[in-house]
């Protein structure tokens, strides 16, 4: 959701403060005037627009309530609380009068708001609309393979020919090319070529976007002809960075791969369709019927030339998503009838573009994050509810007194709502601030610039702010209105005398007691995982990988289509002759990030292990010690070789002893399909070294592969004294001189590469650490509030007991028994859950620390819980017997 839409929606809610008659006459006009003024203020910056929106909403609510009073139209309406500045002032006074409870209540709401901001950002990422005119009508079309549960090849031409509900159907694919500097003609530029991602895209993408070019023109259908001269459109950021904003760029020539290409246009800032592109060249697909004379839908599926493309379009005027889906399904059914072998299992579907993008890539993760956020919001919300319930409960006598003195129910509810609003507004501001700080800390970890161009991860994005506003108002309702309604309800109005004399009239229900137990259970169950994740992450971030990673320069080496495969090996040979490099190695993956596969260990069943396809000199290149047996030699790189090497974690965690001579085999495509048996001939040290105890996830199995293998795409150069920076320069020069179709990407030291691999776990550690701390904090404060209320209820009883000479220890035990019972139950349940999870995940849950960590965790939670209970218990003992008797 855009900020503008969020602001207008919020204003719409504010307009509800006016009486219905006024809304019918003026409501639409008010919203239109607000929208126009908002657009005008937005030109002065986001914060001016936010300030105006907030001021206009407050002004409208106050003016609306005033209008209600004037017209006497206050019956039967939603907002009849009669808010005034006096209420707000009273609210402030009450917050100061109960500072402890205000603080914990505020803290709770602030945490809810932080969660809300995260949820808001997440929601805006998933449900964003493209920032185009009617961007929500841009759709993606795909063939979903129901049997494989993945997208299949697309019937692009058929869809373009036959669909009427979706217009401007186009396609794109992302390719990598070297892009040289700009020249006046097709000559050589002095600027070194840079590898870049380019969108090969249909011209209709630009008509769909309805975004005019900043200079020149965008792609047109004519550019898609095979015989058309090659053209390129450049994005704003690249125009500024690479070409210094040169106004003469249009008409000049760029070397794109081995093709001299004319720049025809520059797109404005912020345009990055389809993902976050900076260069666009025309997508030139030959129609299937060009050569065969067959209609697209009759063309054998295997012969269709579209390949790995993604298809998009815009809903036709008057069409909606269900109508487009029905039409597409019909087309799909016809294709299935004509080509049952290829199309019977395909389910063509049309989705909003942004939803499709995230669904395709992160379907499982979306579900997981949504689940986690809902869980966290639920836990935090429940805690806040406990806090405020107890908070209001302690004020019931005051409320009853006010009622007895003549205050109407409406007045009391209004004032307490105002009080809640003051608290939740302050807490929301604090929450926003905390979220902004977290966001800034994450800036160092997350490459935001790689995010799709429409994603707004700002904490002041429209959706995030809407979440904050809604949560703040909800907070005010929970903190103020609901308890006040309850306190002034018929049951609570049975008499001031009863309320004052019978302090057990209002009990914290069993539900809240259970909630506390659940919180403690969750804290105990989750803490081992969070603590071990955070601890592992900190140790791994600061530990050495066991070799001098900073001395290695790495680069991803790719080749444009048509380049000879031997180019890569030739690049390696040339670099070996460079004085700055002492050793050249090609890798298939970053050390430590090997892909996993299922292997059967003879006599020990199946295990999922990381499999490294490495050159024969891999261990020598990185100085990895061979612990037993031998390392690889050149013969092991022969495809017929049946020898493998495993690391220490494999030997210890999976084999559980001597691994030499043991046999393993890989699972094949089907249950009855296996690879050949392979013999373990050596055991090497874990690489990269881990400071923490290795787990099964660290087990590696290495196979040597031949030097010319196409999987070797990561080049690692060991730099001599000159360092990696000078070597990087030479690498670029050598690659350019060798062949312009060689693409070098991500040139960096291996140190940086290894660090990059850890980003995910670092962010995860941050998130789980913060969530656990919040959880603990709230459990402690929830417990504290509960105890405070319990003790307040029993003041008279405690006073009488002390007056009658009861032993303070007995009294304390009586007070604490409830807390101990709850804590004990929670801790026991938490330990059981954690132990179950730990056993189920073979020690992974506790990061290999096993159950030894559980007593420490349980003790920690118990300590926090008892500390939370101790303060009210001490206060209870200080009650003067005479005071307690007087209350009688």
């Amino acid at each position: 959701m855009t900020f503008r839409r969020a602001a207008v929606n919020t204003y719409r809610v504010a307009v509800q403060a006016f009486p219905r008659r006024h809304r019918v006459t003026y409501g639409d006009e008010m919203i239109a005037a607000f929208e126009q003024e908002l657009a005008s203020r937005a030109r002065g910056g986001r914060w001016r627009a936010i300030a105006f929106s907030a001021a206009a909403c407050v002004d409208t609510i106050i003016a609306g309530l005033g209008e209600r009073r004037r017209s006497g139209d206050s019956q039967g309406e939603v907002m009849r609380v009669g808010l005034s500045w006096l209420d707000v002032k009273l609210g402030l006074r009450m917050l100061v009068r109960y500072p402890g409870l205000s603080l914990v209540g505020g803290l709770g709401i602030a945490l809810v708001v932080v969660c809300g901001v995260v949820a808001g950002i997440f929601h805006s990422v998933i449900n964003a609309t493209l920032p185009f005119e009617e961007g929500d009508r841009v759709v993606a079309i795909e063939n979903w393979d129901a049997s494989q549960n993945r997208p299949a090849r697309h019937d692009f031409f058929t869809w373009r020919d036959e669909l009427r509900m979706v217009t401007d159907i186009g396609a794109y694919r992302l390719v990598s090319r070297n892009i040289g500097g700009a020249t006046a003609a097709a000559g050589q530029s002095t600027q070194a070529p840079e590898p870049a991602r380019i969108a090969e895209i249909s011209a209709s993408a630009f008509t769909i976007a309805r975004v005019p070019p900043l200079a020149g023109r965008y792609l047109v259908p004519d550019d898609e002809r095979i015989s058309a001269p090659p053209v390129i459109v450049v994005g704003y950021d690249e125009w500024q960075r690479r070409f210094g904003g040169d106004p003469q760029l249009i008409g000049r020539t760029l070397q794109v791969g081995d093709t001299a290409t004319t720049v025809v246009g520059v797109m404005p800032r912020g345009f990055g369709f389809p993902v976050n592109e900076r260069y666009w060249i025309p997508l030139r697909l030959s129609r299937p019927d060009d050569a065969s004379g067959l209609a697209p839908s009759r063309m054998p599926y295997k012969d269709m030339p579209q390949g790995a493309i993604h298809v998009f379009g815009r809903l036709a005027d008057g069409a909606d998503l269900p109508a487009a889906q029905s039409e597409l399904s019909l087309v799909g059914q016809r294709a299935a009838a004509a080509e049952p072998v290829t199309h019977a299992r395909l389910r063509p579907r049309v989705l909003p573009y942004t939803l499709w993008f995230f669904k395709e890539q992160h379907d499982g993760e979306i579900f997981l994050v949504q689940g986690l956020l809902a869980l966290l919001l639920g836990i935090v919300g429940a805690n806040v509810a406990v806090l405020v319930y107890a908070r209001t409960a302690t004020r019931r006598i005051e409320i009853a007194l006010r009622g007895a003195l003549g205050a109407s129910r409406r007045r009391i509810v209004g004032q307490m709502f105002a009080e809640g609003l003051v608290l939740s507004a302050a807490a929301a501001a604090a929450g926003l601030l905390i979220a902004a700080v977290i966001r800034r800390e994450l800036d160092g970890l997350i490459p935001w610039h790689l995010a799709p161009f429409w994603v707004n991860t700002s904490v002041t994005s429209g959706t995030a702010l809407t979440y904050v506003i809604v949560l703040a108002v909800l907070g005010a309702v929970v903190v103020g209105a609901i308890p006040a309604l309850q306190a002034t309800g018929r049951r609570a109005q049975t008499g001031l005398q009863q309320a004052a004399a019978n302090s057990s009239g209002w009990r914290i229900g069993r539900t809240y007691g259970i909630l506390i137990v659940v919180q403690v259970t969750l804290a105990v169950a989750i803490l081992p995982y969070a603590a071990s994740t955070a601890w592992t992450s900190i140790r791994e971030a600061t530990a050495s990988p066991g070799f001098d990673a900073a001395a290695f320069l790495t680069a991803r080496v790719e080749m444009e289509p048509g380049a000879p495969p031997a180019l890569r090996a030739e690049l390696g040979r040339r670099m070996e002759t460079e004085s700055g490099a002492s050793r050249v190695t090609f890798l298939t993956s970053v050390p430590g990030s090997e892909p996993t596969a299922a292997f059967e260990i003879e006599g020990q069943g199946w295990h999922e292990v990381g499999v490294g396809a490495v050159p024969a000199d891999y261990f020598a290149a990185f100085g990895v010690p061979v612990l037993a047996g031998r390392g690889f030699d050149a013969r092991d790189a022969d495809p017929a070789s049946r020898h493998v090497i495993v690391n220490r974690a494999f030997a210890q965690q999976i084999i559980g002893g001597n691994a030499l001579g043991r046999r393993v085999r890989q699972a094949g495509a089907s249950d009855s399909d296996y690879g050949p048996w392979l013999e373990i001939v050596g055991v090497v040290e874990n690489f990269p070294a881990k400071p923490t105890r290795p787990t099964r996830a660290d087990a590696r199995l290495y196979r040597a592969i031949a030097p010319g293998d196409s999987r070797f795409s990561l080049l690692a150069l060991h730099a001599r004294a000159g360092g990696t920076a000078a070597l990087a320069e030479r690498l670029r020069d050598v690659a350019t001189a060798l062949d312009r179709r060689l693409l070098l990407r991500d040139i960096r030291s291996m140190d940086a590469l290894l660090r990059e691999q850890r980003i995910g776990s670092e962010v995860g550690a941050w998130a789980s650490g913060l969530a656990t701390v919040s959880l603990l904090l709230l459990s402690a404060t929830g417990l504290y509030a509960l105890m405070a209320f319990t003790v307040a209820q029993r003041r008279r009883e405690i006073g009488i007991r002390v007056a009658l000479g009861a032993d303070p220890g007995t009294v304390v035990r009586a007070i604490l028994s409830r807390a101990v019972w709850q804590l004990g139950t929670g801790v026991a349940a938490g330990v059981a859950v954690a132990a179950l999870l730990n056993t189920g995940t073979a020690d992974e849950f506790t990061g290999g620390a096993g159950l030894r960590i559980l007593p420490a965790v349980a003790g920690f939670v118990l300590l926090i819980g008892l500390a939370a209970a101790a303060a009210p218990a001490r206060r209870a003992l200080r009650i003067q017997p005479t005071e307690a008797m007087r209350e009688q």
């Binding site: 003026y26 008010m30 239109a32 005037a33 409208t60 003016a63």
Partner: protein, 123 residues
Amino acid sequence: MPARPQRDPAALIPLKQSIYRVLLALGEGEWLHGYAIMQAVAGLSEGRETILPGTLYAALARMVDDGLVEGREAPDDDHSGGPARRYYRRTAFGLAVARAESERLRALLDIAVAQKIISGPPK
């Protein structure tokens, strides 16, 4: 529509500031829609004083009820887009009330000048 009975402008004095500003922003015989009035109010003081939509429409509703302004549907040549908007014009009674309020304020201003709180032409 029956003629509104003649009323005494002084009965509405002192005016709320928002109402006075709207009366000033509506020029002689000029029909303006709500947003144009917001802009006209800001224009009176070169943007130093503004009126927010909630206050404006609460004031307009009151002014229509009191006969200070009259409203009508948008004319056919209104191409401003968005929802159909009403246009407002100051009535003769509105002008009389604005005049009465201005006189009141001028009297106060004269006192301020006499007491040398501000400088100004002597009365």
